[in-house]
Amino acid sequence: MTAVVLTLSGAVSWLFRVAFITVVPVHKLPPGVRRVLEASAPAVLAAMVATSLAPDVSRGNDLLLPAPLLAATVLTGLVAWRTQRLGLTVVVGIGSLWLLQSVF
């Protein structure tokens, strides 16, 4: 059962990946549809950030997130915005959260 599930899951994943690259080439889609699809990056990335933080969202407290996590998230965002360096952003994110959790 496990092997069948993983094989079929892999096949589904691969079919989705090649669907608009190889099976139905995207240049056959209308330009408007393509422009909307190009907007998918900010939508997907924002949803991924939100989903990864969602388990820590407070309910009924003053702050949206626990203070160290909120501060580390804001700091990470600022570093990403100002430097646009992914490696530095990740290091600052992990380092600041570790430091803040140690202090508070």
């Binding site: 669907a19 690259i21 699809l37 990335l45 949803a47």
Partner: protein, 241 residues
């Protein structure tokens, strides 16, 4: 390419345009690969929990090549779900790959046939964001070298992380600041794309809806967030005509 891509490129420095695609790929993917490693360890733990052998765990990791879908499959298997329910969940979670494929398709257009069929296997959130964020990959052979290097390095780290989870799982700490790595990667990839008010509005909508739906099962909140963001993009597209 897009204004976003230009922003990312300008942040990388003009020398990046001339840099070898192999070095460029390694520099881009290594922090990303290390950041997803904790997730790979979790997958390894879940594979171990359903009594999978190391070979099976690694084959599953390579075949699905996506943490959320793989983890959901293993979790549902462990809970005794049937094949149809598991595949339906995988379909929902992986549906976004079609959107990624459509967005990244121009880079695959002039590639050899083998690459057009096999290359997309390595399309995941992070590789999609990296490749679409670069303005210097338009030349087909340059993109192919970049993509294959990214794929190889990410695969090695991903499978190594799954191995660590399967072999050393019981002695690993349950939680640490390293868990924040994946979030930091997504923030790092998102921030340069928020230069325009259009992108900011799309991202804000997606983020708010994703949080609101985060209690829903099987990654539905994530998909709802993406759908809401694309809906906003569609409305803006219609209004500009």
């Amino acid at each position: 390419m897009t204004a976003t891509a230009t922003a990312v490129e300008s942040g990388s420095g003009s020398a990046a345009v001339l840099r070898s695609p192999y070095r460029l790929a390694a520099r881009d993917i290594l922090p990303v690969a290390l950041s997803v490693a904790p997730f790979g360890v979790v997958i390894g733990l879940a594979a171990r929990a359903v009594d999978q052998g190391l070979a099976g765990g690694l084959l599953g990791g390579f075949a699905i090549y996506g943490g959320s879908a793989h983890l959901s499959s293993l979790t549902l298997l462990g809970a005794g779900a049937n094949l149809t329910a598991i595949l339906a969940t995988v379909v929902v979670i992986q549906a976004r790959l079609m959107v990624y494929g459509a967005a990244i398709a121009p880079l695959f257009q002039q590639q050899p046939q083998w690459f057009r069929w096999l290359g997309p296997h390595f399309l995941v959130d992070q590789t999609y964001a990296l490749a679409t964020g670069r303005a210097d990959l338009a030349e087909p052979s340059r993109f192919r070298r970049y993509w294959l290097t990214v794929a190889a390095l990410l695969t090695v780290v991903w499978l190594a992380a799954i191995t660590v989870g399967m072999v050393f799982g019981p002695v690993l700490p349950a939680s640490s600041p390293l868990d924040f790595a994946a979030t930091a990667v997504f923030i790092g990839l998102l921030a340069p794309r928020l230069a325009s008010s259009r992108s900011a509005l799309i991202a804000s909508t997606a983020g708010i809806v994703a949080v609101a739906g985060s209690h829903l099962p099987s990654g539905t909140g994530l998909i709802a967030g993406v759908a809401a963001g694309l809906a906003v993009a569609t409305v803006m597209e219609v209004r500009t005509r």
